[in-house]
Amino acid sequence: MKTAARFRVSSGMKYLLIALPFMIFTFMFSYVPLFGWLIAFTDYTIGTRITALQFTGFSAFTDILKQKNEVLRVTTNSLAMSGLGLLSSPLAALFAIMLNEIKSKKLRQFIQTATTFPNFISWIVVYGFAFSIFSNNGLLNTLLGQLGLPQSSTGLLGDTRYVWVFQLFLQIWKGLGWGAIIYLAAIAGIDQELYEAAEIDGANKFARIRYITIPSLMPTYFVLLILAITNILNNGFDQYFVFYNPMVANKIEVLDYFIYKLAFIMNEMPMSIAVGMIKSFISIALIFLANQASKKIRGTSIF
């Protein structure tokens, strides 16, 4: 008996010990950076040694308040882009429903492969494509010229009026095919008998979609929507950095870009970290709220 008890304990310990190096690794690369938040309370600049830091209290945060207009501007940009993204979120489900209506399996496969491809290229390549097509000498302007229609003088990439819409368009182009996959999986899981029964009862295609398919997709849509809302301030950096130029700077600088700019262009590292901290706290709060909302509306929580 004693031998068996010893064996059980050391087995549990053994796995914990094996987990230790993994935990140390994660500590080094995911938890240690969190300590970097402390630097928001110092006078760090690039090149300062950690040991030579001076404590400055909340001055980085008050600096943020002094730059209130800037912060408001970039937050508006972030919210605008996220808001547009939320508005266009049904498109992925819609695309899945439409794709599902295609009879030929081979055609569906081909379309799926083709439309998910944009998801797997980097934003730099997207910029390359966009430049070739939408710039001054690009495809669009050339075509318009050949058709005798007015051309854009700055090209779409430099046009400050269309920044948000254009970036949204690129996001949809890049993500629609991929985003539809989850909904296609959900549709595949719908009981075919429901459709057959509805057809017998006289429901036409539109009615069947409206009363069977769409309600079946609602749970998935809802979860993804809530997750998207919790990320409302996290627009990502890649896209906005790559499409940044002075002409559209005003509208294209989102919070994540602003954080980068503060640190590497304006050398305001503590302020940059402070903004990042605030953004993280808001995100965590949003996650809690989202969880509560999900419990109330759906009965189960997400996390």
Binding site: R8, S11, G12, Y15, L16, I18, A19, F22, M23, F25, T26, M28, S30, Y31, P33, L34, F35, G36, I39, I50, F95, I102, I111, Q112, T113, A114, T115, T116, F117, P118, F120, I121, S122, I124, V125, Y127, G128, F129, F131, S132, L139, G177, I181, I182, A186, N204, K205, F206, D256, I259, A263, F264, S272, I273, G276, K279, S280, S283, I284, I287
Partner: protein, 299 residues
Amino acid sequence: MKFIKSKSEKIFYVVNLCIILLFTFMCLYPIWYVIIGSVSSGVRAHTAFLWPKGFSLTTYKTFFSRSDIGLAFLISILKTAVGTVLSVFFTSMLAYLVTQQKMLFRKFVYRYFIVTMYVSGGMIPWYITMKSYGLYNNFFVYVIPGILSVFNMILVKTFVESLPASLEESAKLDGAGFVTIFVKIILPLSKPIIATISVYTAVGQWNSWIDNYILVHTKSLKTLQLLLYEYLNKATSLASQMKNIANTAGVANAEAAFKVTPDSVRMTMIVITIIPIMLVYPFAQKYFTKGIMIGAVKG
């Protein structure tokens, strides 16, 4: 299956198909456009819509004489290969480890990793931390931080949990240790999900550039993506440069001036950067969708 379709359903089907095909076209055409543009004579590159105009491989030839492209390509291949192998191996090992019910504090350990998906220090703390570890201007910054991917870990864990427990148990009774069981039993049986996360990881590695931009400033370690970004922005000055050295590629200067332009430089560079993905993607696509399906079921 009903054979009699109402007129409105037929119209719906046709409209549906048109819209979908239009979007599919929009996804594929840019690739075609840059391919034919890259093999067109520079000054006419942007007017070539359906097929090349003035077929010419001059831009590619002048590219060969530039050493930075070959080097960047190599760096990207190396980082993709090394990074993917390391990440897939250790992440799946962690995933298997976490399925061991007997582990002391297992729930805590699992949550310890999950939390890192939601809370992150941000770009600057990341920069400062990596620098303090000596990972500045260092190839290893491309492959070490990504060794553990929590998202992939969840995918593998879900899969491993679906494997029959008897296999593991009999191996343990035979006295096999953790690593032995992982390498000899779990890995071979998990081929589908390993393939999936390998493809995810490899594509992520090939496309990543921020670590390069922020933490690596030596030319010899530049990745292809970052080089592409520079080429896209400096295409005009690069085209002039390349016209002047065209002789080394065996092309007369006058000809080069006509064929090598900012447009063709951009397009050629884009093609070079996406060729690996284009070659691999049609075959790898089913692994991508499988991965999402597994994730969707779990979610």
